[in-house]
């Protein structure tokens, strides 16, 4: 079964569809307002808790692998930001892949006159996780203020590019892994693997040293998601890093798109 082609639809149509999807998600979630506030409270709690636990390490040393306390807080804030983006934008869609394949919903999605990758990637949004990226950026700001250094416009621009690249990269990696569901039918646990890998982004990659640091930069590109954007804000990164990040995320994004189309070609449908 193919059907991922959607000739004749323009970007405007896709934007209008996104508007409808998100309004739908929002209306759905507004029924559970208490849940939203409970989530915000819980996120705030985790954030403060994580920041406090880092203090335990700094009881014994002034810097860890060249990072001071406030600099680690910036990385930690970015971890919450990227993790929040994952939970709000990426996970609500791709985590449904198992259900799509097992229940045959994917057959139905493929009959729609819209690009199938667009549908499986952006159909849903986790409204009650919206606050997480904002809270994370709050911690980033606190870390910067604590260090007493304000990043200049160039550093902020570099940071924005790196954060956007990080989001695309995370999406690409998630799509690559979730596409495997087409063959394995169940990807339960795959989500936990992605979250577990992301978890290493709590700290600068240089904390892990040697082989693991290389692995987290080149193989599982967690360094691009938290360490590099943080280094940009702290004035430690230059444009070469941004060029590298954009190249890597574009490559992964394209690879994931190609892989998704390749997987669909071998997908036989739930009915047949």
């Amino acid at each position: 079964m193919t059907g991922s082609q959607a000739p004749g639809l323009r970007a405007g149509t896709y934007l209008r569809l996104l508007g409808i999807f998100y309004r739908n998600s929002l209306l759905n979630e507004m029924e559970y307002r208490l849940k939203f506030w409970a989530n915000v409270g819980l996120s705030l709690f985790w954030l403060v808790w994580a920041a406090l636990s880092v203090r335990v390490y700094f009881r014994f040393t002034g810097t860890i692998a060249g990072w001071a306390y406030h600099e680690v807080l910036v990385v930690m804030g970015l971890f919450f930001t990227v993790n929040g983006i994952h939970q709000a934008l990426i996970a609500p869609n791709l985590a449904r892949m198992t259900e799509y394949v097992q229940k045959g919903t994917l057959d139905y999605l493929l009959t729609k006159p819209v690009d199938s990758q667009f549908l499986v990637s952006l159909r849903h949004i986790g409204v009650h996780n919206w606050a997480d990226p904002l809270l994370g950026l709050g911690l980033v700001g606190y870390g910067l203020a604590r260090g007493g250094t304000a990043p200049d416009a160039g550093a902020v621009g570099l940071f924005a590019v790196l954060l956007a690249a990080a989001t695309v990269l995370l999406y690409g990696v998630s799509l690559l892994l979730q596409t495997l569901t087409i063959w394995s039918v169940s990807s339960r646990g795959m989500d936990d693997v992605i979250e577990g890998l992301l978890e290493t982004g709590r700290f600068p990659v240089s904390f892990y040293g040697g082989a693991v640091q290389g692995l987290l930069t080149a193989v599982v590109p967690v360094a691009f998601m938290t360490t590099f954007p943080a280094e940009a804000l702290l004035g430690r990164a230059g444009w070469p890093v941004a060029v590298l990040a954009v190249t890597v995320s574009a490559t992964i994004f394209l690879a994931a798109s190609v892989f998704w189309r390749f997987a669909l070609r071998s997908y036989t449908g739930a009915g047949s």
Binding site: L34, L42, Y57, F60, G189, T200, Y208
Partner: protein, 268 residues
């Protein structure tokens, strides 16, 4: 079913739980993969000692031994039964379990045990092999103390089981139990010995942490097997574990009876 008959059905149910765990062994592999967390903490501490020499009397090998033991202990003591309880109560799946002659608690406990047997069969040989190769993994205790640590692990699992069950009983009244339990668990995460061995905490915080139930399922067994506790401290740790277990068991049974009355009222 009488209380005396329960031990007799355990072996059979355990065989079934083992079978189901083996059937879904792929998930166990994934689960092992995701437990990178203790290794993250270990890496951070190794970076700290690289710069500071030692931290509170812990050197590099001490941290490696501590976190390897912590990872193993956690696999055996963790009890993810609150999901199951919550789902059963909310969706009515509990009704089916109530028809069976065995209390639902035992179903949850056995399912966890089956998973633990499988993980143990993979994890323990792996750790033993690692310890034989990596010289910094060292546990300077005799077989007697090691056995005491094993008992502490079992006690920690028991405590986690009744603690999660006690919280889950609130699902009879509220849909927010999961968040509440996460919050509780979040506090525990910090004070259990995950983030740092409790010895490295500020003294006041440590004195509070040893009285709370969280250390029982992580820091306590690890501290025993790494030879950091004397007889008195071990006895005190078991007393804390026992007291909290009894407390949560009592709360769980009271809420269970009350909740069940309410549940039947909803179903009728």
């Amino acid at each position: 079913m009488t209380t005396r008959a329960v031990p007799r059905v355990y072996p059979a149910l355990l065989r079934a739980a083992w079978g189901s765990a083996v059937a879904y062994r792929g998930q166990v592999v994934l689960w092992l993969l995701t437990s990178l967390f203790p290794l993250i903490m270990m890496a951070v501490w190794l970076s700290v000692v690289e710069e500071a020499g030692t931290a509170g009397g812990f050197d590099g090998p001490d941290f490696v031994s501590y976190y390897v033991a912590a990872a193993v202990t956690n696999h055996f003591t963790v009890a993810w039964v609150s999901w199951q309880w919550d789902e059963d109560i909310r969706t009515g799946g509990l009704s089916v379990k109530l028809l069976k002659p065995l209390d639902p608690f035992h179903h949850h406990a056995i399912e966890q045990l089956g998973k633990k047997l499988l993980i143990g069969a993979v994890l323990l040989p792996a750790v033993a092999a690692a310890a034989a190769v990596v010289s910094s993994i060292r546990y300077p205790v005799g077989p007697g103390t090691a056995a005491v640590a094993a008992v502490a692990v079992v006690a920690g699992f028991g405590l986690n089981l009744v603690m999660a069950s006690a919280f889950s009983m609130l699902s009879f009244w509220s849909t927010q139990v999961h968040n509440l339990y996460q919050l509780w668990w979040g506090v525990g995460f910090f004070l259990s010995g995950w983030v740092a061995p409790l010895e490295l905490f500020p003294p006041t915080l440590r004195r509070v942490a040893v009285l709370l139930p969280f250390r029982s399922s992580l820091g306590f067994p690890v501290e025993i097997v790494t030879g950091r506790l004397d007889g008195r401290a071990i006895a005190a740790g078991f007393a804390v574990t026992g007291a909290w277990s009894a407390g949560f068991l009592f709360v769980y049974r009271v809420l269970w009876r009350r909740g069940l009355r309410r549940y039947e009222a909803v179903g009728a």
